[in-house]
Symmetry: C2
Subunit: 341 residues, 2 copies
């Protein structure tokens, strides 16, 4: 990521080196589909290698910047990812530019405009819906993209993605509760359009099935990963005629909502109702009682995303377009055997 | 913050416009002290106005970037500041580059190197010790600096600083507990080298004095704003022969540590011991019970810092070098009248 490379690279030189015509290079630059895949790949690699920037962008030199874009900066989750990306960027002399697009198309357009103006070397998109239109625009900007915690929108594409073993995490949290003796285990799910939500729910169901515990749909409540939905869903589960003795929430924030639903009913977490979360945010250690949860390696996911996008920016190959880092159950004080309720 | 301004500005042109000699402009650029203050100010304003960059930096054009530097990205506090700065930067088409320097001089050197290479338009430093050496280097880079939540290190300088009314916040939290009937009120303090810590402690003492409650030094325990210190200090206070009926912690994170110290002793927050925090992080609403706390307008502090540094980058005057935004007591469920302990 040297910032001192002053040479200007022309389309002609790229065409010569790739052994293709100038119009072919233009077609690649314009994101047209009438280019053979291996030709496109060869040309894009050369464009990246030489740090080519389209005319109208501010400089042909590397910007030594990476864009990190979130839907919202409204979760402590975000700062964990930022820490990992910043760590790698800082050491490489690459600045990390933070943006939030608030799920709004006007805001996304403004961000794409800013991105083009500052000629970033790469983009890391976090838990964001990457529409085909935005993917096409990023391709035209010839900027490498890595997605962290992908939603279903990128599943069929070749965009590199970094996630966590969500299914295994859902499985191990549920197995932990089964081992403690729980048989009625509630589940508070995440938004169904996110792949990670579906994987956690399937892990929960797989553990129950393996233990021979029949599935009960009334024990599964929808949520949106935020605190309020955990409070509502937890309350609904606790108010069932035959309430669960343990509740597994698919995010730490929803688990804290369940805590409050438990407290409001004059009950105690662990003593009366076991609670498990998912994420292992720093807040999980600070909760009272400290929360048993499934650790996602968020900082490491950020680090890997940064290393991957910097390698792509230098025209390197990456081994696999999809990587899932391991989750790990962290047992603290919010889980115990079922009380005699 | 146009990124399209291509003209190069020479030292000679700046000297002519300022009505001074070329060596005088050089002295200003090199941060030398042998320049009259009003001359320095006039020259610096012109340098900023014309977007002058030192030779060796990568471009004479505006970078349309602002650097936001933290000591550590280890607190949900950080993401609130980031949200405010990003908000303003995004709308202005200015990228926000995040860094953490980890209180290490090697890391600070690396950051200064990166800052110079990317030719940022301005720097926002958060709760960081800004040593005279770093201040001098930033002055040499001719980049405007704004400090958020200043420590004692910038108190005597002309660096613009944005904080909150910490003394008033300490006062109003303590008055709230006094009004509920508490007379033995514990205090968990922040690090003594930070101005905000001292102001909160003085506000606590002022409220007690105004109510005629004698100060008891055994009720004041040191902390460092982090969770573990709140747990330790809260435990020490609760284990006194004559324990307090309420504890005011100078950060939300320390208040959550006090929660856990209360729980471990088989007691309940509010019912047995009232707890007040300081910050109003999102976590305060999610705590169980939701935390009574002093709200710092962290997002607004970030917004104001961004607006200020962008104005300085354009050579505008700012009205006041020090601004304190108002804190506000937010009463939730962690405080009640003293129990009959």
């Amino acid at each position: 990521m040297s910032g001192d490379d002053e040479r200007r690279v022309t389309i002609t030189a790229i065409a010569r080196e790739a052994g293709v015509s100038v119009p072919t290079v233009s077609r690649v630059l314009n994101g047209r589909s009438d280019v053979a895949p291996d030709t496109r790949e060869r040309v894009e690699k050369l464009l990246r290698h030489h740090g080519y920037r389209r005319r109208g962008s501010r400089t042909v030199r590397r910007a030594d910047l990476v864009d990190l874009v979130f839907n919202d900066l409204d979760s402590p989750w975000a700062v964990e990812i930022i820490r990992g990306v910043e760590d790698v960027g800082h050491a490489a002399g690459v600045g990390v530019v933070i943006s939030a697009v608030h799920r709004e198309s006007s805001s996304t357009r403004q961000w794409l405009h800013n991105l083009r103006a500052r000629a970033s070397d790469g983009v890391i998109v976090v838990t964001s819906h990457l529409s085909p239109a935005v993917q096409a625009q990023l391709r035209r900007l010839n900027v490498p993209v890595v997605v962290v915690d992908p939603d279903a929108g990128v599943a069929g594409t070749d965009v590199p993605a970094i996630g966590a073993t969500n299914w295994t995490g859902g499985l191990s949290a549920t197995e932990h509760l089964l081992t403690l003796g729980h048989r009625r285990i509630g589940f508070v799910a995440g938004p169904p359009h996110l792949l990670c939500s579906r994987a956690r729910l399937d892990g929960y169901r797989a553990a129950l099935a393996a233990a021979g515990v029949p599935a009960d749909d009334r024990l599964v409540h929808p949520g949106d990963f935020y605190h309020a939905s955990g409070y509502t869903a937890g309350g609904a589960l606790l108010d069932l005629d035959d309430p669960p003795t343990a509740i597994f929430a698919a995010s730490d924030q929803m688990a804290f909502g369940v805590y409050e639903a438990v407290r409001r009913r004059g009950l105690r977490v662990a003593d009366d109702v076991s609670v498990v979360g998912f994420d292992d945010l720093p807040e999980a250690r600070w909760a009272s009682p400290p929360l048993t949860t499934v650790r996602q390696p968020l900082v490491e996911m950020g680090r890997l995303a940064a290393r991957t996008v910097l390698r792509l920016a230098q025209g390197e190959e990456i081994e696999s377009p999809r990587i899932e880092l391991a989750t790990e159950l962290v047992v603290r004080d919010s889980t115990a055997g079922p009380a005699g309720r």
